[in-house]
Amino acid sequence: MQAVSSVRVARVALARPAAARNSRGARLVVQAKVDLQGGPRVIRGKCYVTKDNIDTDQIIPAEYLTLVPSKPDEYEKLGSYALCGLPDDLYPTRYVEVDSMKTEYPVIIGGQNFGCGSSREHAPVALGASGAGVVVAESYARIFFRNCVSTGELYPVETDARICEELETGREVEVDMVNDVLTDLTTGKKYPLKPLGDAGPVIDAGGIFEFARSTGMIKAKASA
């Protein structure tokens, strides 16, 4: 329980107009997304370490694809299954505990080609709904990266460092996407990250639709 609340605190804060945030408040359950609570683009908390080629079947096994992400209760439920397809022998610690809806690990570390496989948007949604705010990996599969950005569910950050060989699950880290550095809070060791570029503001806004509205690309909704 304590762990869950610390995740909530770690769930994070960005410059978003107050009105926009309020209008989102009503359906916060539907689209938790990354909420930086008005603060800088920094996420701090325990990390969960995965290796190369984590495919979407491991992120959210196909049997749970009957859950429709645009339905609020099913969105939450998707979160409870996040990363449950990882092989038990390689990943003895579950990302989301049995009987829990949320993860203790707001930061996911990956190797190469994170999110390969199917185009299911359920994958970034499951991670976002579980409480993940950021993945730091060496590279991403194209559709997964795109789905992270368009949904605004979590930040897909790239790095040249093979962090997945250096950190282990449970380590406290800080992912600073303003200065583009990940810090191991136990040792103080820092790892450089690649800038998010144009993808950053889209995720900050909460996805492509929110971004398009906030920048005037499409007109704001008539009713909130």
Binding site: N53, D55, D57, Q58, P61, A62, E63, L65, T66, L67, V68, P69, S70, K71, G85, L86, P87, D88, Q112, N113, C116, G117, S118, S119, R120, E121, H122, P124, S139, A141, R142, I143, R146, N147, S150, T151, G207, I208, F209, K221, A222
Partner: protein, 488 residues
């Protein structure tokens, strides 16, 4: 100084050029109109076919890899797993009263979780029916009687194969689909790729999508195909060569005699799996084989495009297919390429022939041919899932060439295979617990499907060897992973 810099930067894009010119006007003398050769089309940049299709659909004389363009969409494909979420996003973002951009260009094909008692899966097909009615979607391949698929003439089965069979795939078009294997349609010389629900919801409302133009990797497949080799061996070979991320963000173009000699189903097998190499799309140049297939199914016009001789490619690969041997992708990655004969010691528990990649008519014909020539019975349960109702019909009615006028169904029965199941995605991706042929135990399977990541067919500790229909059939007879030449 500043002026010339601005003008130089203005050249590539009309919109940007216009804005820049205005700023120049304010700074200095009236500008001369920026009618560079690239904007008038007088001199065209050499392009690959993927670039040409995207240029045409974004109303630009030319595009280059890395350009972000708003591309017009010819068709949007969705199914029961992602359709409800896609329409959910469309309704949320565009409003309850909004209409889809073109109800004749949205194709809805339920196929993933059909023959299951899972209530949520059944509900999702119901949602598709509701939205198809509400928005007047012209092409919705519905199923209402799940106890007998044949009682549903509209029901087709696996969306990528049905899309082609129903005449929705055409050279030169832009297709997006809420399924990563949408790249299958590249076999027709079109741009086709998978997207998530949010992007698809955006397309539903606007008919457009912002995408980055991919660089093209060219794969020349030359030489004569040996009789034991199938298109599946070629794409598994290529993925093994370049890895599961070797084509990430890129287009893969397949050319050469071996590709020209392929029928449409074989080309689909190749293009279907480009996403397994991380590819954005795959394409085969359209030719008479393409035109014949397309024109037998639709009278709508189309315009094929081809790569220029001088187009620049990100990479050029050449393979002499006559020298290749049957391969498998061993667990747990599609690029874990091994020669089938090297895996001779791997005992197997089951064989699966089905899916968009390996469940087309030609796939069953190939498997049946090997079983017939070899004689004898399969040693392990052998599951057959025709991709579509049309394929199912072919399995039961078409004589397999060179097999004494027997149908594939007769040959499968004689060999002791499990009776062909109702067409759908079935166990290719596991699915609900009661899915036909789902791997509910940690078994070893040889499968003609496209992915073998942990848990893909159901059980997390299951082991999947991806293979051609020949190799799958030979393995079924042998009870271990087997090179088909042993039975030919």
């Amino acid at each position: 100084m500043e002026r010339s810099t601005l003008l130089k930067r203005a050249a590539p894009s009309g919109a940007v050029a216009g804005r820049r010119q205005l700023r120049v006007t304010a700074v200095a003398a009236p500008p001369t109109p920026s009618r560079s050769p690239s904007s008038t089309g007088a001199v065209k940049r050499a392009m690959t076919m993927t670039e040409k299709i995207l240029a045409k659909h974004s109303d630009k004389p030319s595009v280059a890899p890395g350009d972000n363009v708003w591309t017009g969409v010819d068709k949007l494909l969705t199914h029961d797993v992602c359709g409800p979420g896609t329409f959910g996003i469309f309704q949320k973002e565009f409003g309850e009263d909004a209409q889809v951009w073109d109800p004749e260009r949205v194709v809805i094909i339920p196929d993933h979780y059909i023959f299951t008692s899972d209530p949520r899966a059944n509900r999702n097909v119901d949602i598709l029916r509701e939205v198809a009615q509400k928005y007047g979607i012209k092409y919705f391949y519905d199923i209402t009687n799940r106890s007998d698929f044949r009682a549903n003439p509209d029901y087709k089965g696996v969306c990528h194969v049905a899309l082609a069979q129903e005449g929705h795939c055409k050279p030169g078009e832009v297709l997006f689909g809420t399924d990563s294997h949408t790249c299958n349609a590249g076999a027709f010389g079109q741009f086709a790729t998978g997207v998530g629900n949010t992007d698809a919801g955006f397309i539903l409302g606007t008919g457009k999508l912002l995408i980055k133009v991919p660089p093209t990797m060219r794969f020349a497949l030359d030489g004569e195909m040996p009789p034991w080799l199938l298109a599946k061996d070629l794409i598994l070979h290529i993925i093994g060569e370049i890895s599961v991320s070797g084509a990430t963000y890129r287009a893969m173009e397949f050319v050469g005699d071996a590709v020209s000699a392929m029928n449409m189903e074989e080309r689909m097998t190749v293009c279907n799996m480009v996403v397994e190499a991380g590819g954005k799309n795959g394409v085969c140049p359209a030719d008479q084989t393409t035109f014949d297939y397309v024109e037998a199914r639709t009278s709508e016009p189309y315009e094929p495009v081809y790569s220029d001789d001088t187009a620049s490619f990100f990479a050029d690969y050449r393979f002499d297919v006559s020298k290749l041997e049957p391969v498998v992708a061993a667990p747990h990655s599609p690029d874990n390429r091994k020669l089938a004969r090297e895996c001779h010691d791997v005992k197997i528990d089951r064989v699966y022939i089905g899916s968009c990649t390996g469940g087309k008519t030609e796939d069953f014909m190939a498997a049946a041919k090997l079983l017939h020539k070899a004689g004898g019975e399969v040693k392990v349960p052998t599951y057959l899932v025709p991709a579509t109702q049309k394929v199912w019909g072919d399995v039961y009615t078409l004589p397999v060439p060179g097999c004494d006028d027997k149908t594939a169904a007769e040959i499968f029965e004689a060999a002791g295979c499990v009776t062909p199941a109702a067409p759908s995605c079935a166990a290719c991706l596991g699915g609900p617990r009661d899915t036909f042929a789902r791997m509910n135990e940690p078994e070893v399977c040889v499968s003609t499907t496209n992915r073998n990541f942990p848990g893909r067919m159901g059980h997390k500790e299951g082991q999947i060897y991806l293979a051609s229909p020949y190799t799958a059939a030979a393995s079924a007879l042998a009870g271990h992973v087997c090179d088909p030449r042993e039975y030919m």
